[in-house]
Homo-oligomer: 153 residues x 3
C-alpha cells in the first residue's frame, strides 16, 4: 500500500509543508539523500506542544508532538519530490531533540512517537537509525524537534 | 562572483583554518560530501563570545558568533578542497547548537546569523537544511557551535 | 593490522551488538555510508556511567563511557557488515552528546575518550569529523551518547 493510501486509511492527510521559521530551506537533496530540516510540532501554523517534559508536558503529549513532526517532514519530503512520495526508498536517520527537565531520562519513549509512526506508515522502509537526546530549550518553546534523512530515487 | 571575491567585497578575509580543540580532524570528505567538524566562534585563537543567551550574551552578539563559525568553516573547507573554493557546489546542512538559558527559545534568530551569512556569501548555493537547538553547555563555554555538511565536486 | 587483531592485542573483544532501547534499528546503510544509532555506554546490558559531569561523574569515567560507546558501535557495525569489519573504509563523523552540569565546558575532553580510541584502533582510517556538545539530560541517565557515520565498501 502506498504511503498516502496508508495515511488515508488512518484518517490522516499531509499538512501543507510547514514554512521554516527562519532563513533556511525545508529540504535539500544531496545525491540520493534528502535532508529535511528540524521539524517542530506545528499544526495549522501553531505549536501543539510547548514546554519541558514532564513538568510542563506529559510524555503522551510529547509523543503526539513527535508524530506531528513526522507528518510535517513527510509534507516537506513530498514537496521536495515534486509531489511523488513513491520515490521514497527509505528513512535513513532521525535526530530527536526532546525539551527535558534536568532529571528526565525518557527521551527514547518520546522519540518513539516518531519512530513507531514511521514504521506504521512505511513498514520496513520506515526503519531508521536514530539519535535521541535531551536539551534544555528548543525553538519557540517546542517540546520536541525532529530532523530527518531520507533516501529517494 | 566567486565566494572569495564576495568576501573581499565585504571587507572580509578567511582566517587560518582553526585547529580542532581535540583529537579529531577539521573535515572529512565522503563521496561528494565534505563534513566539517563543529566550529566554535574562534577569532585569532580566542573565542569572541562565551556564555549563555540571553543572560550572559545578547542575541546580536550570538548572531555575530554564528557568523564567525561560518568564516571558520569556510576556511576549513578551503583547506580540505586544496585551496580551491570554486569546487564548492552547495551547502547541504548546518547543525546549530546555541548555549541557552532554560527559558530562551530564540535559537532560530541566533542560527540565522549563520544562515543569512551563507545566503549572502553564496546565493542559491548557500541555501541549506538546518537543525537549531538549545543546549545548556558548550565546549570552552562558547555561546554557539555550528557544524556543516557541504557538497563539492 | 586488522581492527580485530588490534582489539585482541589490547585485550578487548567486541560485545554483542547492543539492542536499541526503542523502536528503531542499530544501523542503516545508505550508499557507502553506514549510520549507527546513538550508542549509550552499555556493558553486559547495564550502563557503566550515569549522571551529569562533573558533579556526578568524573571526566575520567565519562571518557571510559565514551570508549564503551565506540566498542558498542563497532559491534553494531560488524553486524551490519555481515561480520566483515575489513569492509570498513573509515570513520566519517561522530556526534558526541555529553550530559553536563550547566557550568561544565570540557565536552571535548570527554569526547576525546571516543576520538582517541578510534585513532588507536584504526589509525588514519579512524580520523573523523566531530561535533561535541553538552546536554542537560540523556536517555536512561547515560552520561554520554555517541552516534557514528562510517564509510564502508
Amino acid at each position: 500500500m502506498s504511503l498516502e493510501s496508508k495515511l488515508e486509511q488512518l484518517g490522516l492527510t499531509l499538512p501543507e509543508a510547514p514554512k521554516p521559521v527562519a532563513a533556511y530551506i525545508p529540504a535539500v537533496t544531496s545525491g540520493k539523500q534528502v535532508i529535511v530540516s528540524g521539524q517542530l510540532p506545528m499544526q495549522n501554523g501553531e505549536l501543539i506542544s510547548t514546554g519541558k517534559i514532564p513538568s510542563q508536558v506529559s510524555i503522551e503529549d510529547a509523543q503526539a508532538a513527535a508524530r506531528q513532526c513526522v507528518l510535517n517532514a513527510l509534507a516537506v519530503l513530498k514537496a521536495e519530490l515534486q509531489g511523488d512520495l513513491s520515490r521514497l526508498v527509505r528513512v535513513v536517520r532521525i535526530g530527536a531533540f526532546v525539551q527535558s527537565d534536568d532529571d528526565f531520562y525518557g527521551q527514547p519513549q518520546v522519540a518513539n512517537g516518531a519512530s513507531e509512526f514511521l514504521l506504521e506508515l512505511l513498514g520496513d522502509a520506515g526503519r531508521h537509525a536514530r539519535a535521541a537526546v535531551g536539551v534544555n530549550a528548543l525553538p519557540l518553546n517546542a517540546s520536541v524537534e525532529v530532523e530527518f534523512t531520507f533516501e529517494a530515487d
